[in-house]
């Protein structure tokens, strides 16, 4: 049920250009984490290091008891089977149709019959909304479609860890929300550890359990969503509010004079906006990785900005949460103890949906047109 990734003191440079240094973080098993950072701070490089495509100069990446950068080749290939990766540009095999692309991992690594392969591939293509394009070549479809096909290929072996590089670039906002829902539902079903690189602030604010921010060759902060959303740290605050005011400028960082001018004009990003409630899994599923709303703030004595955790219908999720959880069956919670802030409500046996990992995916929200 998901695997923890523990990164210790990771440093990477290309020649004399240091990309980032001393990055240490633990991506908790089964949770959804988001990695943010200005363009060119090495988010894609970080993802590639996590799967062993790039060798860091220093530091460790622990996947279970295996230290990825120092594994012999055979173990590395073995370890990579835990991963599903969506590259920034989809990275489909240009000479194969979408169907063959998505079937590729199944044909390589499993002994499934061709009819099983077909069933699974169609299922995944349906999930990302690509039914009907299975015989097209990657060169014949749009960037957003390539992205989704790449995602389907990454998912086809039910990975323990899913690394996703900018799922929302090249996608329209509607598809982006659908895709976010797909991630959340997937996480509920297969319980994999997710790391999503994104530039979409809305995604970063509402989807993940944890947020990390790369800035100026360092990991500025990594922690639970509520911690970053309630943080007063200027960089974090500027980035998570997509504000022009703050230390980040067009060319990575502003110079002193600019900052002073801003301070003089009394430009301040003002009060923190409220923390939005986290997006839920659909169809009555509960993600085991999800923390109770407000739990982190309560545990750390932080008062969330006024108006936090209140959804469009005016429900306050801090109050709503225990009731909501009691009405659901947590998926896959039987083996793992509920993490952190989750209330220890006993799940009613055989509740709505009866979802188990490996079951066919539930209908998408709204069902149609995606």
């Amino acid at each position: 049920m998901g695997v923890e990734i523990r990164v210790e003191g990771l440093t990477k440079s290309f020649g004399r250009q240091v990309i980032w240094q001393d990055v240490s973080l633990t991506i908790p098993a089964g949770e959804i984490s988001v990695l943010l950072g200005p363009s060119g701070t090495g988010k894609s490089v970080f993802l590639k290091s996590l799967v062993g495509l790039l060798k860091p100069d220093r530091g460790h990446i622990w996947i279970g008891d295996r230290d990825l950068p120092y594994l012999p080749e055979r173990d590395l290939y073995e370890t990579r089977k835990l991963f599903g990766v969506l590259f920034q540009d989809g990275a489909l095999f240009g000479s194969m149709s979408l169907f063959d692309n998505i079937a590729f991992p199944l044909r390589e690594h499993t002994k499934k019959s061709e009819s099983d392969v077909k069933r699974i591939v169609m299922e995944k293509m349906d999930m990302v909304g690509l039914l009907g394009s299975e015989h097209k070549l990657p060169g014949e479809i749009s960037g957003g479609m390539r992205k989704r096909a790449g995602l389907a290929r990454a998912l086809v072996l039910d990975p323990e860890i899913l690394l996703v590089d900018e799922p929302d670039s090249g996608l329209d906002p509607v598809r982006t929300s659908f895709l976010n829902q797909v991630f959340i539902d997937l996480n509920a079903q297969i319980g994999a550890t997710f790391l999503i690189v994104t530039h979409d602030i809305n995604t970063a604010r509402t989807v993940p359990d944890n947020i990390g921010l790369l800035y100026r060759r360092h990991l500025a902060m990594f922690g639970p969503r509520e911690m970053l959303l309630s943080s007063e740290e200027p960089v974090v605050r500027q980035f998570l509010n997509a504000s022009k005011v703050g230390p980040i400028g067009m060319s990575e960082e502003k110079d002193e004079s600019e900052l002073e001018a801003e301070a003089k004009m009394g430009l301040d990003s003002g009060k923190l906006p409220p923390i939005p409630p986290q997006q839920m899994a659909s169809d009555g599923m509960l993600r085991t990785g999800m923390h109770a709303p407000g739990a982190w703030c309560a545990a750390h004595g932080v008062t969330p900005p006024p108006g936090s955790f209140i959804d469009d219908l005016g429900r306050n999720w801090v109050e709503e949460w225990p009731r909501y959880v009691a009405s659901l069956t947590p998926v896959g919670a039987a083996s793992a103890p509920p993490p952190g802030g989750m209330p220890p409500s006993a799940p009613p046996p055989g509740g709505p949906g009866g979802q188990f990992p490996g079951n066919p995916p539930p209908g998408r929200p709204g069902g149609a047109g995606y």
């Binding site: 220093r58 290939y77 590259f87 540009d89 991992p105």
Partner: protein
Amino acid sequence: MSAPETGIGAGRRGGRKGDGGSATFRKIGDGAANVVVREPGRFFALCLDTGRACFVWPFQWREFIQQAWFIVSVTVVPTMLVAIPFGGVLSLQVGGLIRQLGAQSYTGATAVVAIVREASPLVTSLLVAGAAGSAMCADIGSRKIREEIDAMEVLGINPLHRLVVPRMFACAFVALFLNGLVSVVGLLGGYFFNVMLQGGTPGAYLASFNAIAQLPDLLQAEFKAFVFGITAGLVAAYKGLNAKGGPKGVGDAVNQTVVITFMLLFLENFLISTLYFQFVPSKGM
């Protein structure tokens, strides 16, 4: 399990401390060191890895056949078009020279020797490097910059085994055929020029075949062709797999592939020829 690994990590970290000195060295000697030491070193490493991947089961027959067919399709016509005039020119030159020396009856034989021993491997290398190697490098390089190679590795597939090994053998396999083709076409061209244009007699041309030519000539040429094919495949793979910086990077890689392959093939040609003359006695007359 973790103990030896922390050992490696610790070793690296320790080694890092002394890096201050070598950093300045790197600043000065980067370009030169790259050309003289690092690139050949990495190329050699790739050759070893590819050699190891050759013995991984199963061999990718489909890829091999597709690639062989592809290489044939880009090389056969140019090969013939190059081979005919090449054979003709050789016949003319050699024929003229031989006549001056007063040994007309041996024009056929000398043409054979020139074509089979040297010209056909040369033409083959030209085509293998220029057509097959460049196409292969462009293919692998564009896969690299589209991150297909990375995706393949993440999916647990070794691209050396999957892509490079079948291409390398396809290249060598086709080179064998090309070499045969060049020999035959060249000889026909030579025959045509000798008999039609220089007034040689068909009988003398054919009879002198046996006088000087011998089977090892052909074998060494085929051996050369095989080595050329392997070399071209390896260089193309190396340059393609290290392409970076977008489409321009692929263009650069292709360019370098052709130049490097040419140099290597001519060097190999020289070495093999030298060894051949050292170890295989020429036929007495």
